[in-house]
Amino acid sequence: MTSKKKAARIGSDQLMAGIAAASATAKTRIQKLDQQDIDGVAGGIDWDKILGTGGGTTMGMFPSEPIIGSNDF
């Protein structure tokens, strides 16, 4: 019998440890992806750094008229 793949859950007893782990692994993950990007598009322009949008694009809510250079909602 094959078991179904499920999303993980996190409770209050693990929350702060989970957040610490999440921020650490996110840093590593982004550094790795940045390195792959540099390998793939050497000479490309890093618009995030120029616009100051803070490393990445959004996959979430943002104002329909964003203020360039600001992450303020």
């Binding site: 179904k4 793949k5 499920k6 999303a7 993980a8 859950r9 996190i10 409770g11 209050s12 929350l15 989970g18 957040i19 782990a21 999440a22 921020s23 692994t25 996110a26 840093k27 993950r29 982004i30 992806l33 940045d34 792959q36 990007d37 995030d48 803070g54 490393g55 990445g56 694009t57 959004t58 996959m59 979430g60 809510m61 943002f62 104002p63 329909s64 008229e65 964003p66 992450n71 303020d72 909602f73």
Partner: protein
């Protein structure tokens, strides 16, 4: 569901005044995967997301009331991001996560569990190489200071300033 029910965005910025933690982005085989909060789990009042040392959007998922047409992801009367995720990402779980947002989730309300089985891989801030592209549409998003011309036969689809 009543048409005027306030829905929630499952991927909101942590700076939103009504943001609530939905999940924590852990990793599985090197890929980002959200672990969803159990019911009743919440951040301590003194938690400072800005002290994480990284943009919180990479590590945490927040929900907040959907801004509807005030959001840059709004397309054709719904969430363009929710639809783009279904079109561009593969499912990563077999069953919908039992998250705390389901009843009011914008993505679930519009797309059902097709959104839920893809949701765990979504990080609010995404590395450019992992980002989902939300296509433009003929309609939205609408800048609030512009509105389509009310004249019955506008020339070349002109817009007018309010």
């Amino acid at each position: 569901m009543p048409m005027d029910q306030q829905l929630d965005c499952p991927s909101a910025p942590h700076q939103h005044p009504e943001a609530r933690l939905l999940g924590v982005v852990l990793e599985e085989e090197g890929e980002a995967r959200v672990a969803y909060l159990d019911k009743g789990t919440a951040l301590p009042d003194d938690f400072d997301a800005d002290a994480l040392g990284i943009d919180p959007g990479h590590a945490l998922r927040f929900s907040a009331p959907c801004a509807n047409h005030g959001c840059g992801q709004w397309r054709d009367g719904g969430c363009g991001l929710g639809k783009a995720i279904i079109a561009q990402l593969a499912p990563v779980v077999d069953v919908a996560p039992s998250c705390t947002l389901r009843k009011t989730c914008r993505w679930y309300t519009e797309n059902g569990t097709a959104s839920c089985v893809r949701c765990p891989q979504v990080t609010t801030r995404a590395h450019p190489s992992k980002a989902v592209h939300v296509p433009r549409s003929a309609y939205g998003p609408h800048p609030t200071h512009l509105t389509p011309s009310p004249t019955p036969r506008p020339e070349r689809g002109e817009t007018v300033l309010r």
